[in-house]
Symmetry: C2
Subunit: 781 residues, 2 copies
């Protein structure tokens, strides 16, 4: 852990011109920093809390119309006819568009090989798009939707993924409901491994389908000027939206401008454009007016993505000393009605988290009549962790070993799942486990909880302590990223980057990277970002790759500015450039501090009134694996009379490479833990599988996300900085997703520790827990 990162950040220090001592080396990470690593509040904090920040859903254009989408109410149906005549007569209604409206005969590609029409006559899920309207007010738009008469032929539907492959199940595709081939992985010889094991356990697990429920709903405002389209979209990646819309509408990228700026949360379901984006654009084109299309909350439950449910079976073998000998994993999942990675990455932890010579996995993805999945914070990993990390806990119990010790026994040094088994640039898993356990007081807490079991008056409240580990499949970021840093004539700085800030603090971290090199206050840096018309290029902010992808490009751009400045000052001062450094707005000679020049007087800046530095993201180091690691520790109280769980405290030890900003780092980790608690304890898409196939809790009242009362007041973040000198030029690895992976499993293990009941199906709701208590009583009696 980088102890120096815990000091309070002082603006006075910066104002006094403290600058990095790192040499201008674009590939090597800093040895020492003065800005990066500190806990600096967000540079856009004022805008966010004052309400002056303009989110895409705040955009209001003159003459803007309100768009709305009519969605199929059935999980599977054929549209026989659409009568728009009444809707078109309503006041304020400008456009009522169906699949036959000119311009709307467009294909929307859910994946490279799979598309449906914008308004497809065959509806494959509840929420599939049937028609669109644009009207003067949102009320007129929704009245118009109600006035459209659609005749559906309701088709039999399959809503239960475990029944999708039954021969009599209704089929979504001619070929059947299996998505592609069964995904198989194997190394070593699992049979041999199980034979060598002293203990072999086998268990089924399942996780429920989760919904993204971003605070800002999905949508955009679309506006045409001649043949040029501008879209303000709540998105994780403006370039992804630009590409998707351009491809769909057959336009050059230069004619599609996408502006993101602020956005109210994205966990993977806003990585790309949605059908709603294209519908908004087509309505706007036809109306000759801007169209605002933000989906109702209910629609976001049905149609814009989810974390696929997983049905898993895991068999594990282990020697008495804790050495893993074999892992065998089966998984069935569904991405819903379109190929959307129903089992994507579910087996990654089984493959790679622990040293294990013999591993086999098989994953089966099926179609069902439900909304398509989209990546959700660490796709597949929390599901896999739910199985593997509960299994590790069970193995430890069976062996009579400490769960932390069992994991320490199997720490990997290379990625076993990658071809050639590349070594990790850094592996902080051991430190996460050790430093995490020490800080948490693991041993004492376990013992104290066990000692208290069955105590007097509080007998109904059982205390338990559990933990789990994780790695995330990627983490070092990757090219391309292109960034521009610009010095104004007075020495102040503008940062231009394509990446979106999902609310995680990307802008702040990048400003700190610039500040580190150029010796300016990060709060003084002007930032232009997330606009395809004004920035260079960035891939979507997702995959925990934003900081490790963008920060090296930002640093390279800042270093380019610094290099130009120092070289020009060297000419001006007749000194060597490497004798010069930036101090407090001046270029000063290291050897003779009397020799100096104001930045604003350096010829390079005076000549052009600006110094422009373009920075590119270099390639990752060859034959290396770059992964973040995590270990989380959880203490709970379970009321065995009500099944209620109170999470007493949570500690997350995280190796995500360099800690860029101690404050936003912690916020990311806490946010990840909270989402993990949601998976573990509260969240579940409920489909009416037996009858209508419809979603029963498509709203924020019935679909439970953790509230402040579900989250422990006592949360601790323990950053493990492995001083990674290989990953990239800033040393940062991914943070956003790994923090959410082990949380639900740690919670389940704590519940087991408290109650002796193993909850293998998520979420651990009071009702489910009480049912399991009852089952146990029956068994015991």
């Amino acid at each position: 852990m980088n102890k120096s990162n815990t000091g309070l950040y002082s603006l006075a220090g910066l104002a006094a011109g403290q600058t990095s001592e790192a040499k201008a080396d674009e590939t090597r990470p800093w040895e020492k920093t003065t800005v990066v690593g500190r806990p600096i509040p967000r540079v856009d904090a004022y805008e966010r809390v004052s309400g002056s920040a303009e989110y895409p859903s705040d955009v209001s254009l003159p003459k803007m119309l309100y768009g709305a989408i009519l969605r199929c109410p059935h999980p599977h149906a054929r549209v026989k006819s659409v009568d728009t005549s009444q809707a078109e007569k309503l006041p304020g209604v400008h456009i009522v568009a169906t699949g036959t409206t000119p311009g709307f005969d467009v294909r929307w590609y859910y994946s490279r090989d799979s598309y449906s029409k914008i308004f497809d006559p065959l509806c494959l899920f509840e929420g599939d798009e049937v028609a669109g309207v644009a009207a003067e007010t949102p009320y007129q738009a929704s009245d118009a939707l109600r006035a459209i008469k659609v005749e559906y032929e309701v088709l039999p539907a399959v809503s239960d993924e475990q029944k999708a492959l039954d021969p009599q199940a209704p089929k979504l595709r001619e070929k059947g409901n299996r998505v592609g081939e069964v995904e198989k992985y194997s190394r070593g010889d699992v049979e041999k491994g199980f034979a060598e094991a002293d203990v072999v356990l086998e268990q089924t697990y399942s996780t429920a389908c989760e919904i993204h429920t971003t605070l800002e709903r999905h949508g955009c405002v679309a506006n045409w000027e001649g043949d040029s389209l501008t879209i303000w979209e709540s998105t994780q990646g403006v370039y992804g939206v630009q590409g998707g819309v351009a491809r769909t509408l057959g336009m050059p990228l230069s004619k599609v401008r996408v502006i993101g700026k602020y956005m109210g949360g994205g966990f993977g379901s806003k990585l790309d454009a949605g059908k709603y984006t294209v519908i908004a654009a087509l309505l706007a084109k036809r109306a000759g007016r801007p169209v605002r299309m933000f989906l109702p909350r209910e629609d976001t439950y049905l149609a814009v993505g989810n974390r696929p449910p997983a049905h898993m079976k895991l068999k594990a073998g282990v020697k008495k000393d804790g050495t893993l000998t074999a892992l065998e994993f089966y998984c069935l999942g569904t991405g819903g009605a379109h190929p959307a990675g129903g089992t994507s990455l579910n087996d990654n932890l089984v493959r790679d988290l622990y040293t294990c010579p013999n591993v086999r996995s098989e994953m089966t993805d099926v179609f069902i009549n439900a909304g398509p999945a989209r990546p959700m914070r660490a796709p597949g990993h929390p599901q896999g962790a739910w199985a593997l990390e509960q299994m590790m806990d069970a193995l430890a119990a069976k062996l009579g070993m400490d769960p932390v010790a069992l994991r320490l026994k199997n720490i990997p040094t290379v990625s076993q799942a990658q071809p050639g088994n590349p070594p990790y640039t850094s592996t902080g898993l051991r430190e996460c486990l050790e430093e995490g356990a020490r800080t948490f007081g693991w041993d004492e807490a376990r013992k104290k909880a066990e000692d208290r079991h069955g105590e007097g008056q509080e007998a109904d409240i059982r205390r338990g302590v559990g933990m789990a580990s994780a790695l995330w499949v990627v983490g070092g970021g990757w090219p391309p990223a292109t960034v521009i840093v610009r010095l104004f004539a007075d020495g102040s700085v503008n940062l231009n980057m394509g990446a979106s800030d999902l609310g995680t603090g990307t802008k702040t971290v990048m400003a700190m990277v610039v500040a580190e090199e150029l010796g300016v206050d990060p709060n003084s840096i002007q930032i232009e970002h997330a606009d395809t018309g004004t920035t260079q290029f960035a891939s979507p902010s997702g995959g925990s790759k934003t900081v490790p992808t963008e920060s090296p490009a930002v640093r390279a751009a800042a270093l380019s500015v610094k290099k130009q400045l120092l070289e020009s000052a060297a000419q001006d001062l007749k000194l060597a450039a490497d004798d010069l450094e930036i101090q407090n707005g001046e270029i000063v000679s290291r050897s003779d501090p009397a020799k100096k020049k104001k930045i604003t007087d350096v010829s390079a800046l005076r000549r052009n009134a600006v110094v422009v530095g373009v920075g590119y993201r270099g390639p990752n180091p060859p034959n290396r694996s770059i992964n973040p690691f995590a270990a989380q520790f959880c203490e709970v109280e379970v009321n065995v009379k009500t099944g209620e769980i109170r999470i007493v405290r949570f500690l997350a030890a995280q190796d995500s490479g360099r800690v860029m900003n101690r404050l936003t780092y912690q916020n990311q980790v806490f946010g990840g833990v909270v989402m993990g608690i949601g998976l573990g304890m509260t969240e579940e898409r409920i489909l009416d599988k037996e009858q209508t196939g419809k979603m029963l809790n498509a709203n924020w009242h019935d679909y439970k996300i953790p509230t402040a009362l579900d989250v422990p007041a006592d949360m601790t973040c323990v950053p493990i900085d492995p001083h990674d000198t290989e990953a990239n030029s800033t040393g940062a690895k991914g943070l956003g997703e790994p923090a959410t992976i082990p949380a639900a499993a740690a919670l389940a293990n704590a519940v087991y520790h408290a109650t002796g009941v193993r909850v293998v199906d998520s979420p651990i709701s009071p009702m489910r827990l009480m049912r399991l208590f009852a089952d146990r009583s029956k068994k015991e009696s």
Copy 2:
């Protein structure tokens, strides 16, 4: 003239992939072009005519307040007290600010050495700022202005510049009313020159004060987010406004973002911020709400600039053969109440338009109690041309020489006024005169007009033909300018430049420069411009320097993209980069056209998903003078019974270097001629010099700008392309201003030719003309 530039532009040709054959040389102009030079309609034509273009005065922000400024009604007064209590009580009024309001004690610098406070208690002109308000509606704001009670001590004022130096004149400054020292210039020996002359004439001339009267009024919308200020301003230069506001408010440039984009006309009075900009920013800060501050039309007459009036005396000597021997010039002018270049550049044509060994000039600038001047389209030059070009006409008449022949006799090859007499990179004056006269049919028209004088029934309508020449003081542009051209992943293009497009077609011309190099349709290029937050740097669009300054930077940026593409393709194809060229979206080998690669497949583009080219404006060639030249020809009919003038036709021959776009070139020239007609025939600020000192025609009804009926239907533009290979890498020289310089003088010479009356004071109104006819009759009788 570049004959190849007159062909109709064909998009089909571009689509077929015609590209420049110019070699990738960043400093040498193209030898041959396929896009540049054609008559291409503006790339933003749709937005402009459809109304979808958002001008700064269209900007409307949520919770925006309306600002208004209380202005002193007296030309000279001291504010004794301001009572805002009633105004503050009015509904909807948020702020009533005076000089004592916290935050408003700020100095506004009219020039480096001269400032007044934002609300200065000493008012020096009618329209000086006294207080400001911000209210919910514009009506509430103007009600609030009326409710402010101001007690003024009215001071004696001087409104007549010719009386400003009288000892008893009221003084605007302690030192007196003279602005700085008398500006003196001399070369050779004028006494000797006059002694050598065969003919010597001396004459006084004057031009009236003109107002800019831009279609979009002056103003901005100002909005704060925390300590960051964003200003949407109708401006010719966003970086100028940014600098002015940052300096005034003591902010770093990175905290002031200025956005221009569209703007509704600027002729010099929008080169920088105005006091209104700062007042808007301060009101917005105090209100915590955005403030819109666009001035009422009347205020723009009083307070935001004008073309200073000029009182000139010119003495000229010439030999019988037409050789000029001496010129002596005296000028008195005023920039109003603040030092604003009251005589700036008035003598430049006398110094430099014709070869003349002996020249002397003296120019006296004075303060008067009137609104400060600001540069107006070719500052000083139309005034000087009014004198010099009428004098040349008079000399020709006296010598019995043709006016064109007299000018051809005195064509310069070097700048005589510049130190070292640097040669011109190109001098198109001879071609302007010869090609202009030939195309106009000068000889025939003069003869025909003279033959008709005194003809039968039409005796009251006299026809006359006149001409005049010009040069403009600068013309080659100059650094700095920094531009970025960016290739999207699909090969389409984004152009990022800081410069404003005043409506002259800058965006279109720059898109053509990119298209020339990269072989794309100029209409497909996305343009980001005039925003200090997203572009690099540009000086204000003024001085006719925008195209010659920016276009070489744009070309350099495009060439940088081209170079990166060709070099990467050369590696990909294992060919030499100079064997490759861009054709129709592909990189093709010249030697073996079968060897080729799609642009979108070139590694450099695939690697980064973008290719970024940064282009800088290089320095001008040393020891060279770069100037545009012009000659204009005018035919009029004068009704000698009413004094009405009908301009029958106008021809403008223009050497502004390379013709970048035949269509926008012509538009610029016609616009320049129309403004010259305004100076010559209709425009005049009328001050009540004898009594109140107030302006009597501060509105569009009483101040006459030329209407469609005042402008000839028959206008011809004759571009003279001198194939300038030295000026810069595009060969363009300035165009906007030179086109307006000789027009008024050509008109006056045509009126003289028609009537025999020399109108030496502008404007040539019917009343003035009738008075002169009456004077002549008196003299003759």
